[in-house]
Amino acid sequence: MRHVRDLSRREFLVRAGGTAAAIPTMSAILDACSKPGASTSGSSAFEIATPDHPVTLPMNGEPIAADTPIEQGATLQILNWAVYMWKYVLNQFVQQYGDDGIKFSGVTTFNNMDEGVQKLASGKIKADVFFPTIDVLGKLVAADLLQPLNHDLIPALQQDNWAAFQSPYYDQGWRYSVPYTIYTTGIGYRRDQIPDDVIHGMDNPWSLLWDPTYKGKVGVYPSYRDVMAIALMKNGITDLNTGKDADLETVRTDLLAMIDAVDPRIAYDASYNKLQNDKFSVTTAWSGDVVAGWEYTSPATQAAYEGFGYWFPEDRKGPIDNDLIAIPKSAEHPRLAHEFINFWLSFRHAMDNFSWNGYQPPQTQANVDALTKTEGLYSKRSSSWAAPAMYVAPWMPDAAVREGDFAIGYREGPLPADVDDHWHQIWSEFTAGVGS
């Protein structure tokens, strides 16, 4: 068919990179003006990393020298999710480097990883640090958007953080990334409607999201990977990156059935606001969201605090993941960026941030078992909450993540393009209410 032939010809040009110059047409001029991702030096698709197939990312140049001086009078630029870094800790960083005249005016945020990558790739946002997820790391390196890290400038990784992150499967030898937070994806639930022992005694608590008893009070994230991963878990499928048609068809049927069964709401704040205020009874939840939710209860009473919980399989076989910090190639203050990462990875500051945003850092000095008994800094400083809040509330021990969990749990990694399209297609059908 004619249009297919045209498309493949176009693809050929795009892939061949330098051919753009050889074709003396308008398209050459326009090609030269097109996005960097298109005509990069013939870099074919990046390698997809899985725990069974770890990847060493290619070095895009050299990391900055260890003796580079800290940039003076710099305005620190951060590109991150919203509401993910405690302003108090950020201010501490700014104060610590006050002699260098560091300034900070706010975090540039994105609503989802696609948007974040787009902002970075378009070259219109100059960020010194960026917080990608694992599935885009390979792409970012392939598109030459990140710079390698100088390990000497970030001693905190080896000193304070779990050793596994010195050679994670997606970035062997931690060339480009360090871990930011670790978390699991489970179910948030109202303890006054589903007692703890009931949910722990169930065969398949994942199916709570489909239970018509909670019709109209089910919340899901607007995140296709997470919701579809839960649908996979519900059906006992443990490959969270599956491209199998049969698996995806099951997911599709289930998701569309959910619409009629429970009339779900799609909300960003399903698990840190709505659940806590009894607007939702059951939600998809990242562990950090539920843990930090105590701050959003209104009114702030102990009863409200104890009203919600987090469930994750006892055998720790569920979705588990971590976020990353990386330095973009276009960073204007790379030396400062290294200092920033080192600061953020060190024990004290990482734990302080944890007390605020609820997401656990992989700190060796933190006794995971004691998290439910230790009060965090934010709770001590908070003016809106009188009772002490532990790092992790004692009635949601599943929310704490242990080092061994990473070997047992299932990771969400990057998907090949056609598989990703298939996933997106199913998700679009869900959000558009097909079949309802």
């Binding site: 003006c33 097109s34 996005k35 630029q77 919203a82 509401v83 302003k87 108090y88 005016s105 706010g106 975090v107 540039t108 945020t109 609503n111 902002k119 378009s122 219109k124 946002i125 909300a267 960003y268 704040d269 840190y272 606001n273 959003y296 209104s298 009114p299 702030a300 003016s383 809106s384």
Partner: protein
Amino acid sequence: MSEHVLSGPRSRALPGTRGGFVRRWVRNPWRRPTILATVTWGYIVWSLLPLVIAIAVSFNASRSSSSVHLFSLQWWWTDPSDSLLHDPELHSAVIQSLKLSLSTMVIAVPMGVAFALGIDRWRGRAAAGANFVMLLSFVMPEIILGLALFFVFSFLLKFVPLGTPAQILGLVTFQLSYPVIIVRARLLSIGKDYEEAAMDLGATPRQSIRAVLLPMLYPAIFASAAIVFADTIDDFVTVRYLSGPSTSEPLSVKIYSFARSQPTPAINAAATFMLGSTIVVGLVAYLLYRAFTKGQRTGTGLGDLATQF
């Protein structure tokens, strides 16, 4: 019979009509329009009541934005990190909103007025084409324009940084049609007689426009400036797609993104502050308008302004 008819709104019933009170009430052409009045005042309350509540929430003594728990100034200036006075994010949001609105107004209104003048007097195919494009930009849903501009700034006009420059360009494009439509409507009712008279009396084209036509257009110009300003302050569709670093997010975008999470009442305080400044700007514009049109208008001028749409 005629005395009864001419006694005006005071009379409640027409003599000579049979039937009960209700029937006479329905038949009376001079009765007070109670139903219409109720509907109108009901509409006004429906329209503005949430505003009162939103302002009240900004004085909440708790962290809740859903119910009113008066009274505290913590969200205005007493809270050391989250209040309007102390939160740099809210500052930059408010400043950005004002910056965008004023720049858009200053660029869009003169261009729009010039276009309206030109298109009104110019006939021909090209004129019809330009007119069509202008009207198209008026009814175009904003999401289309925002998305299209985002694409054009990402792929073609790459020298334009996302953020304030892109936002201003986008906003002006979206608002350009307002002054055009308003001024054109006014021009149609003015007609060409005054300019012709002026030129008969010896004025050059430029003089006649400046001294005769333009002053007659003041109500339209001011009305469109007010509309452009108010519309831009509130805009979040175009601005959201074209925003860059966090400092370029105006208050409207911040409110929209907070709407999805849990806002603190500080955002209500920021919005109330914004409302206050808009009212101030509106009043200043109104007073300027009255000064400019002294001798030209009858009454307060507000009616004139409102009829410009």
